[in-house]
Symmetry: C2
Subunit: 568 residues, 2 copies
């Protein structure tokens, strides 16, 4: 069935749930009027439906491959990429000074989701470039910006991130790649990097690698790491692609899914690179890139959840099997209906959290407010981990709705699961996200968390008198979250880590309840969103009790169980 971009859903979210008017009311984003926003969502939606969605199966059936050192991409991907670039969708949020549109990140986030729902493996390419644009905007010298930003924003060149090495995955500080000063303003970068998404392609003029490596005087660990721009083709005096750099794609991974996206092992042999940011300041620069990339990956999960849901709903509405209390199709069976309703309710929850995070990022950019920065920082790991977990869970349920057909590849239901599975792993595993939430994001003693919980409780309080059946579950769950947070911030780090994943889930559960409540109230009693909120609040939100108990268990019992006990 054809993918339908969630254009009206985003309009509703912006107007009634996450308040984009806050963002467009700032000087920085005043040009993003409601008309502009609508036009952009509609135009992007059209491109996703018409150009990108037809490519989704191509990527799966005809994976990117390496031929004599050259990456050949899946059929149609070159045209799809050209459409993305020509539409200006890569540089939507980038600085107009270099050709970007300077639009709110909230809009880019929405368009990214649509592109991901249409064709995830291709969408990952501009997502990487967007992260690189942002890192360069914040950390590169003017000289580098002048050369690279216009090309990246126009899409003529693509960007990649090179962090991981075989012995340095989640522990980036263990990396061994080296950089030596050439004495002419350039550096010689040497090392092997793995899991490089879109490490090469056959449709962009150049591929620009941001590579983490250690200078000779760099200390061990993350504090001794620097960031370098290492282009595939070295720009000549006019800024056009020149001679080939000393780097190559060694191999492509054979993966569970996302076959259209070439995942490369990259080898740098004294490749010419330019320092981005300060010496030994690589991690700070990389974090800029990673934070928004994390939200972007959360959006990938939501994108697949939306697509898998549409796919399953379409199948279920056509499929007849047995007698149901309502209609011929299997949507009439209570259990199938439960699955579909859950899929839709979870997708809404995850999307709202991501959209709220994007608004917080825009408000940080527009106002430099410490509160908004803290809000964005708090919501980023939740948006990433919950969005991708929901992507996996909704894809799983999508397969289940299909019955036997779900296991047959031709249906396409299984591809969603295979493609989305990696999103819970890359850009920091969901375990890492959860640890980030309970450690770094709680260094304020829980202040940012309490501010958000206050907001939720105040809102629920306001709805309580008129609609206690909707408001009370949200208020009560928020109270549980508050108590759990109060407990959490008093614990040692490792006791927090032991409950980090259920804590993040608990937080997301409550946030989902809050946004469902906002949507129900805005859409009115008896509306579709009202009914969907009912499903979420009374079937899924009650999970908060079990999650809170899990969090409060601490770490001790896990260590009492020795490695030998685990192997027994």
């Amino acid at each position: 069935m054809a993918y339908r971009a969630p254009v009206s859903e985003y309009k509703f979210l912006f107007d009634h749930v996450v308040g984009l008017d806050k963002v467009t009311g700032t000087d920085r984003f005043e040009e993003a009027t409601r008309d502009v926003t609508s036009a952009i969502l509609e135009e992007a939606g059209k491109m996703c439906e018409e150009v990108l969605a037809p490519l989704q199966r191509n990527g799966d059936l005809h994976p990117a491959r390496l031929e004599n050192g050259v990456v050949r991409t899946s059929p149609g991907f070159g045209d799809g990429y050209a459409a993305i670039a020509e539409g200006g969708w890569i540089g939507m949020a980038a600085s107009p000074e270099y050709g970007g549109m300077g639009l709110p990140y909230s809009l880019q986030n929405a368009v990214n989701e649509m592109m991901g729902g249409a064709c995830l493996s291709l969408q990952l390419n501009p997502l990487m470039t967007q992260g690189q644009i942002e890192a360069l905007e914040h950390h590169a010298s003017d000289a580098l910006k002048d050369i690279y930003l216009p090309k990246l924003i126009s899409g003529e060149w693509c960007g990649t991130m090179n962090l991981t090495e075989p012995q340095a995955g989640s522990d980036v500080g263990a990396l061994r790649s080296k950089a030596e000063d050439n004495g002419d303003g350039t550096y010689a970068v040497t090392g092997q990097k793995i899991y490089i998404s879109w490490g090469d392609n056959d449709f962009s003029e150049n591929v620009c690698h941001l590579v983490l490596a250690r200078l000779p005087d760099g200390v061990d660990g993350t504090k001794g790491i620097s960031l370098f721009m290492v282009p595939k083709l070295i720009p000549d005096a006019d800024g056009n692609p020149g001679v080939a750099n000393s780097l190559k794609v060694v191999s492509l991974e054979h993966k569970l899914g996302l076959h259209g996206s070439p995942t490369a092992v990259m080898q740098y042999d004294g490749a010419t690179g330019w320092l981005v940011g300060k010496p030994h300041g690589g991690m700070a620069a990389m974090f800029t890139m990673m934070n928004n990339a994390r939200l972007g990956v959360g959006g990938q999960g939501i994108a697949v959840a939306e697509a898998a849901y549409q796919h399953a709903l379409s199948y279920a509405r056509d499929r007849k099997q047995g007698k149901t209390p309502s209609g011929d199709a299997i949507t009439g069976h209570a259990d199938v209906r439960r699955m579909l309703a859950q899929m839709k309710a979870e997708t809404f929850a995850a999307r709202s959290i991501a959209a709220a995070c994007a608004v917080a990022i825009d408000m940080s950019t527009a106002t430099e407010s410490a509160e908004w920065k803290a809000r964005a920082a708090l919501l980023t790991p939740i948006a990433k981990a919950f969005g991708t977990d929901i992507g996996i869970e909704v894809s799983q349920q999508g397969i289940q709705v299909h019955g036997g057909m779900g296991f047959v590849e031709e249906t396409g239901a299984a591809q969603f699961l295979r493609d989305v599975r990696v999103t819970a792993i890359y850009e920091g595993t969901n375990g890492i996200q959860s640890m980030d939430l309970v450690a770094r994001k709680m260094m304020d003693g829980g202040e940012a968390a309490y501010a958000l919980i206050d907001e939720i409780e105040a809102y629920a309080e306001g709805v309580k008198s008129s609609h206690p059946d909707l408001a009370e579950p949200v208020f009560n769950a928020a109270e549980t979250l508050r108590e759990t947070t109060e407990w959490l911030v008093e614990q040692d780090l490792n006791d927090r880590f032991a409950g980090a994943v259920p804590y993040l889930r608990l937080f997301a559960r409550v946030l989902g309840g809050y946004y469902h409540l906002c949507a129900a109230r805005a859409d009115g009693e008896g509306s579709a969103r009202w009914k969907l909120a009912n499903v979420y609040l009374h079937r899924l939100l009650p999970e908060h009790v079990g999650l809170a108990a899990h969090v409060r268990r601490g770490a001790a019992d896990l260590y009492e169980l020795t490695d030998e006990d685990l192997a027994a």
Copy 2:
């Protein structure tokens, strides 16, 4: 890493958790002494580790394929099958009269799990044959038994089940295949069947299809369906494979996983068949086959959970990444430890439930007791659905433990998920299992459920004074289950169906708590099982609160949400 068959785990379960001594204390199974049982588990375990486990990747990398109408199986599968057949593992529980060992089903169930953990796609073959043996033992004429049972039990011939047609999946009664009386004691069977696991192979002398079809005077629906034995090669007067029957494999499915198992579309064109059971009594005969096959499929889920757990643990013990509070390997990280502990605790819970179900089946066989029959009937859908759900969940966590390597196919972590995914679908989807639990299995007004809850509460009561921290969570969760059951049996069927899946999960959660408690008590304070029980009881069992709330929501809210609302 090498698969290690859970031999000692089964010995412990039999001795201390599910009480196999009840079974071996009956006249029927008195020959299955503790020594016999041990020897069988060990011998089967050895075969699984040495012969079957090395085939697991072969099946994935070199799928079964159809060449000019002939199925070619994966490299080594013929030898693996021969080892299974020669070991007598197919007919372990079959009647000695026809060459079987007459052993308890509990033992067969354990060996099936081990074979499935070693190589799931090959194990599915004898699992199907075992179901066929049982159906023939119960329903076939002596003439048919004499021809088929010895060959099936020895493994010279294989058996399949043919239920599904494109328009008749979960709704078996909608099938259109026909059978006409040839007037010579045989029938002409015509129709197309889909999803036929191991519909053909190149290593057995013959393939025996049990096919559901409708006689000319068969009414619509399940009451007009009859069961036929339709062999690939028609046995001659001496019972040896003779002329080819009018049937063929039309195509094989291209599936998400389980590539080593050929899933066939079968075409019957007036094929010669023999009636099994009474005319129009096909569903009754099929149910015999299906009930134990359901437990067998639950065992497949547990098998994969065990294998995926071992695989992930082995990786985690080798992998070094970052500083941990305990040792160099990533098992020292609290979040990784949490995942591994959960995986192990869930696998134990699912395996105990399946083993308890197998014991109930054996007690039914040995004593014809109505209580044991009701217990077996109650536990079967729980063992199937929970076992396979845990298979999926543990495989998912196994991928997560591997980090980026989990998404790379060479690691093998992803194969577990791909292979096991279908187990939640075939032999009745897990939704169907849940509906069976809340409807058919509650036709007694909940009597069988209450009997089991009584048993759990009495046990927990007995442990309370000495170990309240372990016993109280079990007792309280059992009370929640009792109250939820009391509510459930008062509802209309469709209100039950709307909460069927969370109800089954709730039941499984409580049972898991019960068996963990038994294990902890038997193994003693501070033992590995004690510590694992602690993890389950305080981290996972608390989910029961949210599940109970979900169950009690009924169906109304799901139907208020119209198809149009779902598509909005």
